[in-house]
Symmetry: C2
Subunit: 295 residues, 2 copies
C-alpha cells in the first residue's frame, strides 16, 4: 500500500489551524501583513503569486503586491525593499524570483530585514540555520517538505536522505535543515547535483529520495530502493494534446514507473507546491508574533 503524501489536503488543514489563530487577534488595524515584490511579468510567477494571495486571504493575512516594471532600475527595486523594511504595518517581505536581472539577486535578498525575511533566503537566516540557531526563518519549501513528512508520521532520524539538486532555494537549505539535530530531522543527508558521478547508485541507497532538479520523469524505478519515500519538488509544464488546457505538469519522478516500488510518494501537482505556500504564511505569522512582541 503506497501512501500518497497529499500536500494539497494538508495545506488546507494548516490553513484552518492558522486561521483559528489569526482570528483571535483583536487589533484588526494591525493584522499580519505580507508584502510581495514582483519585478516583471514572468508567467509562472504570476500563478505562484496568485496562489499566495488566495491562501493569505483564506487565513486572514493581509497582503500588498508591489509590481515593478521589468525595466525597473536596481536602485528602484532596492529602495522599495528598504521602504518596506521600515514600514511597521508590514511583517513579512518576499521578492518573487526569478528576477529579470539576476546579477544582484543575492544582494537584494540580503537587503530584506532578517526579521521580515519570511522566505529565509538572506545570508543571515540561512547562516543561523547552519549554526543550529533556532531564531531564524527557514525557507518555505524545505520547511514544507519536513512538515509534510512529519504529519504523515515519517521519521527521518538516522535515515539516509538523498537530495538531487543543490539550489539555494530548495536543495541547499533542505540539506542543512534535515541534517540538523532538530526534532523530526537528524537525518544523514547526501546532496547531489548535475556534476555528481554514479547518481543512480547513490539514489538507490536513499531511504528518502528528494528531487528538485526540474527534469521531467528523470527518476525511474532503477534509481529507487524498495520501500523508499519519494518527494518530488520538480514541476515542469509540457505541451500536451490530450488535456483541455493544452499542457500537463510533470515532476522529476516518473510516478507511474516508481509507484510499485516506493512506500510513499508526493504527487505533482498537489504535493510539495501547496506546502510551500502554507509555510510562507506560517512564517509570516511568526514574523508578526515576534515583531508584535518587540513593539
Amino acid at each position: 500500500m503506497v501512501l500518497i503524501l497529499n500536500g494539497k489536503r494538508l495545506s488546507q488543514e494548516l490553513a484552518e489551524e492558522l486561521k483559528a489563530k489569526i482570528v483571535l487577534i483583536n487589533h484588526m488595524e494591525n493584522r499580519p501583513k505580507l508584502a510581495i515584490v514582483m519585478v516583471g511579468d514572468d508567467a509562472a510567477s504570476e500563478i505562484y503569486v496568485r496562489n499566495k494571495l488566495v491562501y493569505a486571504k483564506q487565513v486572514g493575512i493581509l497582503t500588498e503586491l508591489i509590481k515593478l516594471n521589468k525595466n525597473a532600475s536596481q536602485s528602484e527595486i532596492f529602495d522599495t525593499v528598504t521602504e518596506l523594511n521600515g514600514n511597521d504595518t508590514i511583517h513579512g517581505i518576499i521578492i518573487q524570483s526569478p528576477l529579470p536581472d539576476q546579477s544582484y539577486q543575492d544582494l537584494l535578498f540580503d537587503r530584506v530585514n532578517a526579521d521580515k525575511d519570511v522566505d529565509g533566503f538572506s545570508a543571515i537566516n540561512i547562516g543561523k540555520l547552519c549554526n543550529g540557531q533556532r531564531d531564524c526563518f527557514v525557507s518555505c519549501t524545505p520547511l514544507g517538505i519536513l512538515t509534510l513528512l512529519e504529519r504523515n508520521n515519517i521519521s527521518l532520524a538516522g535515515q539516509h536522505v538523498v537530495i538531487l539538486g543543490r539550489s539555494r532555494i530548495v536543495g541547499r537549505p533542505l540539506s542543512i535543515l534535515l541534517s540538523q539535530k532538530f526534532e523530526n530531522c537528524n537525518a544523514t543527508v547526501t546532496l547531489c547535483h548535475s556534476g555528481s558521478k554514479n547518481l543512480t547508485d547513490i539514489a538507490k541507497t536513499a531511504d528518502v529520495l528528494i528531487t528538485a532538479i526540474g527534469k521531467p520523469k528523470f527518476v525511474s524505478k532503477e534509481m529507487v530502493k524498495e520501500g523508499a519515500v519519494l518527494v518530488d519538488v520538480g514541476i515542469t509544464k509540457a505541451k500536451d494534446n490530450i488535456h483541455a488546457n493544452g499542457y500537463k505538469l510533470y515532476g522529476d519522478i516518473d510516478f507511474d514507473d516508481v509507484y510499485c516500488k516506493c512506500s510513499a510518494i508526493t504527487p505533482v501537482p498537489g504535493g510539495v507546491g501547496p506546502m510551500t505556500v502554507a509555510m510562507l504564511m506560517q512564517n509570516t505569522f511568526q514574523a508578526y508574533t515576534k515583531l508584535a512582541a518587540n513593539a
Copy 2:
C-alpha cells in the same frame, strides 16, 4: 604507493608565500593584525593559540592576545569584541573556543564584524557560503582541507565525499564548501553524525572520507573503500607510558589499519592541524587587503 598528505610541510610552504606578500607592504605602522580573544585557560587552547602566534610572527602578521579571566562577565567579553570591531589597526578577530560558558557562543561569534570574522563562524559568513557568495570568509579547517587536497592534485569534482561529524566549526561548513560549484569543489557530499544508521556502509562508498568526530581510531579498514582518500581532522590526547612526554596524539582513523587500503591519507599530527593555522593567516591577510582597499 600511499600518498601522505603532509600538512605540516605545506603550511610551511604557504608561510613562505604569504611572507613574501606581506614583506611588500611599505606602511610598517599598518601591517595586518590579528586579535585573539581567549577566555579562561583551557590547556588545549593554550597550545593552539601558541601555534597561531608563532605562525603569525613567521609570516609578519602582528597579533594581539587578549586573555580574559574565566569568570569574565558576558558583557565584558562582548564589549571587548565591540572595541576590536571599531579598532582600525585590527584586521582580523577570532574568539578562541571553547568558551567556559557556551550558552552565548553563537551570539558572540555573530558579534564579530563580518569583515573581520577571519574564522568565518558568524551567521552572515556561513550564510554567504551557503548562498554561493564569494565575498565571505570560509572557516579555516574546511579551507585548509580543500587546500591540502588541491595542492596534492586530488580533484573532488563529481567525487563522493563522506564527512563524519557535523560540528559548526568543521563538518557543517566543510559539507557546504565542498559541494559548492567552486573550483576544486563540486563534490557529492554526505554529512554523517552520531545518529546516522549504517555508518559503515555509507563510509565505504566514499571516494574521500573525512572524519571530524574526536573518537580515537574509530575508522578501521572495514569502513574504507579500496583506494579512498582519507582526511583525519580528529585529534585526541591519550596517556601513554612509552612516549617521553607521557602521552600520544590519536586521530579518528586507525592509520596503521587503513594504510594499505587507501590511496592517500593525512597523518595526525602534521596533517590538517597546521593547515588550519595557515588558513587563518591567509584569511587575516585577505581581511587586511579588503579593509585597506576600503580605507
